[in-house]
Amino acid sequence: MTIVVNGNRTDIAEGSGISDLIKSLGLDTERVAVELNKRIVRRADWGSTTISEGDKVEIVHFVGGGEGMREP
């Protein structure tokens, strides 16, 4: 199925969950936060949260930044 991750269309296996996605992207689970269709998914719920066709996922982390910056 196709979902949108950070604005990019991405194909993942049917029935995948947030944990599967994070793992397949090779991300450090302790350093990212996840939103599914604009709702926060707490780390504890990643395993039990499944993704559906067309879902929009945002994965964020910390970057250097002080004040008033715009998207690069």
Partner: protein, 258 residues
């Protein structure tokens, strides 16, 4: 010396808070943080770049055990956007502190006070420790305190401008009137004397980024800011002499040769 900055019950030995943007390299940033003596570093929240995974992770370089991480909502232009960013930030390290910015104008980066108040109320309700960046307006400061802000952070000049303290009078008024929470100058400091001057006014701390990261030698400037903040704080505590128009001799008049 036991002169701690206390925000929401948390103690900080340094009164200088640093931003982590605009450094030429992580290595330089780490050295500057070290030289500044800071205990708290603000960081931005951004999408993970999934196309370019070669970039190092920011948290490889900043140890959250050494520095208190203060996530920020830099670049947010509405209360909703800032709230959403804060919610995400909280999840990364399970840290409920947020430096709240709701920007109202792209050229000046002045805050949108209405959006800021709205976001402060909502985030306090959600259990956040909110440190809002605002302009130097006393009434807005009072509203922020009423809304539950853990500190209030007025600008001294536009973000990244390096203009120094452009609002001495308003900062003085804020210092006299806002005593419930720490008052932290956020933005505008260009060099060490600006930091010292802010501290001499009696503010509780100074937050800066560009003043250090943009200097020719950020590590040396970080040390200068460290000393400036400490010098200003000491001078404030020492109590300066009153200003007088005419001279006042400091040598005894008795015993002079005739």
């Amino acid at each position: 010396m036991n002169d701690l900055l206390i925000i929401a019950g948390r103690e900080f030995g340094s009164r200088l808070i640093l931003g982590s943007g605009k450094y030429a390299s992580f290595e330089l940033m780490v050295k500057a943080l070290e030289a500044s003596g800071t205990d708290m570093v603000t960081v931005a929240v951004r999408r993970v770049n999934l196309a370019d995974r070669t970039k190092e992770s920011f948290l490889d370089h900043i140890d959250p055990k050494k520095y208190h991480i203060l996530p920020n909502t830099a670049g947010c232009y509405s209360a909703d956007e800032a709230i959403r960013t804060a919610m995400l930030a909280r999840e990364v390290l399970d840290n409920n502190w947020i430096k709240l910015e709701v920007i109202g104008d792209e050229r000046t980066l002045f805050p949108d006070n209405q959006g800021l108040l709205e976001a402060t109320r909502e985030l306090v309700k959600e259990g956040f420790v909110v440190l809002p960046y605002f302009n130097d307006d006393l009434i807005v400061a009072r509203r922020l305190v009423e809304a539950g802000a853990a500190a209030v952070m007025p600008l001294a000049a536009p973000i990244g401008s390096g203009l120094g303290i452009q609002n001495l009078t308003n900062l003085r008024i804020l210092r006299e009137q806002i005593t419930e929470v720490p008052l932290i100058v956020d933005a505008g400091v260009g060099t060490a004397s600006d930091a010292a001057l802010a501290m001499e006014l009696g503010v509780d701390g100074v937050l800066m980024n560009t003043g250090i990261a943009g200097a020719d030698d950020p590590v040396a400037m970080a040390e200068a800011m460290n000393l400036g903040v400490r010098a200003g704080r000491l001078a404030y505590q020492a109590g300066r002499i009153p200003r007088k128009l005419y001279a006042s001799a400091s040598s005894p008049l008795t015993g002079a040769i005739e």
